[in-house]
Amino acid sequence: MSAPTAGRAVPLPRRGVADRARRGRTVRAGRGLSVRVEGRTLTVCLGLLLALGAVVAVSLTTGDYPISVPDVLRTLVGQGQRADEFIVLGLRLPRVVVGLLVGCALGVAGAVFQLVTRNPLGSPDVIGFTSGAVTGALVVLLVLHGGGWQTSFGALAGGGGTAVLVYLLSTRGGVQGYRLILVGIGVSAVLQAANDYLLTRSRVEDAQQAQLWITGSLNGRGWEQATPLGVGLAVLLPVLLLSGRSLTLLDLGDDAARALGVDVARTRLVVLVAATALTALAAMAAGPIAFVALAAPQVARRLTGAVGAGLVAAGLTGALLLLVSDFAAQRLFAPTQLPVGVVTGAVGGLYLAYLLVTQWRRGRG
């Protein structure tokens, strides 16, 4: 895929890259480290943080056992009552933290994939990660009859193995976005067939349990899921943010990026590995939650109007989307607790549709 033809498969907008880059101001922090900060992006990110804070507060205070905000705060600093401590620190906080981290990981990974494949539908599914993770988990659940961490491990092995396979199959003098997409489609199709086969050939109760895992859920998640995810984010996020600028330049086309001094092949490899690892950690913690990786970057981009990577905004949007969805999943059909994956699609889909319509009305989008 040479640069001129690339324009074809790339519906990402190009107008205004230069405009927006000229706006905003550069913040320099020491030698060679500088960040462009743009007013609207900053405002949006602050707004998202505020909204996140509000959702976290609501999630921690409400439920079968309502606790007031001051009580929650007291509990958080270690001054609360016994019962509050159990509910806030033992049940609600870990779940909220897992949701926050998973959403953030998926949002960032999705933004990276959309940039690398230069496709607004690009998401970790593109490299077969999700189908592979599901296959791994289904084999553990339905064939080996394992459970718990074994499922997570199966998902990790399946997803990671698939990602490596797709990557290897699509390298031929560097990975090209278009070939990566098509190889990913092919490999995913095989795995999807295997998944369907496993689901139709097992007892209906087992299959339904497996379906629950496939949908992705935060029920019963705690610190043991949050910790590895948090560590992973702390390591991988800086890597991605540092590659952010080269990533934005890739959007101009390989040749242009190369001319501007970007090592195209290396940048792609680094960000793909990092984004895949983020997806893997998220799937281990909560299962392959659909649509967050796809919707969060789209929503973030429409909120900020920024063309570039927008990784921070995408991560925050992902976290907000997941937390709101989980809140709804717990409360809407109480006492039945739906898995959060059911709701991300509804919330994310409807909100994306709403954004598309309102933005197009104004002639943007």
Binding site: A9, A207, L338
Partner: protein
């Protein structure tokens, strides 16, 4: 995003294809070969199965001879309907896949993208869970209605606002609506075991279990859809150069998009309603075809029409044979058959892009 359609530089025009790759095979000859493949697939579909029927007997049975012998009955009552369904569903999947990819200029676009599959699935689940529908024919109609309603909604959503239905808007609108509907569907199947049990088998996609009633009832949708699809070849070629160049070449942008979307809805809706959401065929066949023919829709569409049912029927026959006396659903087999071919092609050739 509104500029994306005019963004592609002129160098992306179809004329850029390497002429060498085209000269190696002449397209008419390739089309004849593909047709021969399809005929072979049809014969295999009639003769091969858990009961092997000699070809002579098959032909006799088709001509109404052979009376009420077991073999003749199997051919007439089971295999003929199954093969007919396979042909129309195959044509529909291949055509709608090629149209979708041309319409959205997105290699990820598959017939499910306009919300067709999501609509059919949601309607199926509703019919199963709330309306107590159990007859297959009624389920087919429910799925068809769901597919139609939802894809119209997606198109309206995608076309709202200035500039009408651009490729990216359509793709995103389809994904957004599909996601919301799948949320509903998965909530239903997670809450209700009986519905889940029916749904998981429908979701794999299979040609088995229909009599000719379904075929005749769905045939008008397939026929109109196919005619509409083939008529869009020339305007879609013009639009491939971008909206502005397309307009300059005399193509009517909005009309082409509306008619293409309508054809996709008819074809894919009928196919999904009849056989379930068979993944991969509609996605992969157009890619395979473009590697053979280049991006000219006047060739891509007929080739898809022929190769897609051939793949589907071969997949179906193979599915009957490999795990005898059991059967593997065609949706599973086509993915296992087609995917390695797609991967090999992607690695070997310089692909014709959209």
């Amino acid at each position: 995003m509104s500029t994306s359609t005019s963004a592609p530089p002129p160098a992306a025009a179809p004329a850029r294809r390497r002429p060498a790759a085209r000269r190696r095979v002449s397209r008419p000859a390739a089309l004849v070969t593909a047709l021969a493949l399809l005929v072979l697939a049809v014969l295999a579909s009639l003769a091969v199965g858990s009961r092997e029927v000699p070809l002579g007997t098959v032909l006799d049975a088709l001509r109404g001879l052979g009376g009420t012998s077991q073999d003749a009955l199997v051919v007439r009552e089971l295999r003929v309907p199954r093969t007919l369904v396979g042909i129309v569903v195959g044509v529909a999947l291949g055509l709608s896949g090629a149209l979708m990819q041309a319409l959205t200029r997105n290699p990820l676009a598959d017939p499910g993208l306009l919300g067709v599959n999501a609509g059919a699935a949601a309607a199926m689940v509703t019919a199963l869970a709330f309306l107590g529908v159990t007859s297959r024919l009624q389920l087919v109609w429910a799925a068809m209605a769901g597919a139609a309603v939802v894809s119209v909604a997606v198109y309206v959503l995608g076309a709202t606002g200035r500039g009408g239905a651009t490729p990216v808007r359509l793709a995103l609108a389809g994904t957004a609506v599909s996601a919301a509907l799948y949320a509903y569907t998965s909530a239903q199947v997670l809450l209700d075991t009986t519905t889940f049990d029916r749904f998981r088998f429908w979701q794999v996609g299979s040609l088995a279990g229909h009599d000719t009633t379904v075929f005749w009832q769905m045939l008008p949708f397939f026929a109109v859809g196919t005619a509409l699809a083939l008529a869009q070849a020339r305007p879609l070629n013009a639009l491939a150069l971008g909206d502005d160049s397309g307009r300059a070449l005399g193509a009517h942008v909005t009309r082409t998009r509306v008619l293409t979307a309508l054809a996709v809805t008819l074809l894919c809706g009928a196919a999904t309603a009849t056989a379930g959401p068979i993944a991969f065929v509609g996605l992969a066949v157009p890619h395979l075809v473009r590697a053979l023919t280049g991006p000219d829709q006047r060739w891509v569409l007929p080739f898809s029409c022929v190769l897609s049912p051939a793949l589907l029927l071969f997949g179906d026959v193979l599915g009957r044979v490999v795990v005898r006396p059991g059967e593997l659903e065609v949706g599973i087999v086509t993915a296992l058959l087609g995917a390695p071919v797609l991967v090999a092609l992607v690695r070997r050739r310089r692909l014709a892009q959209l």
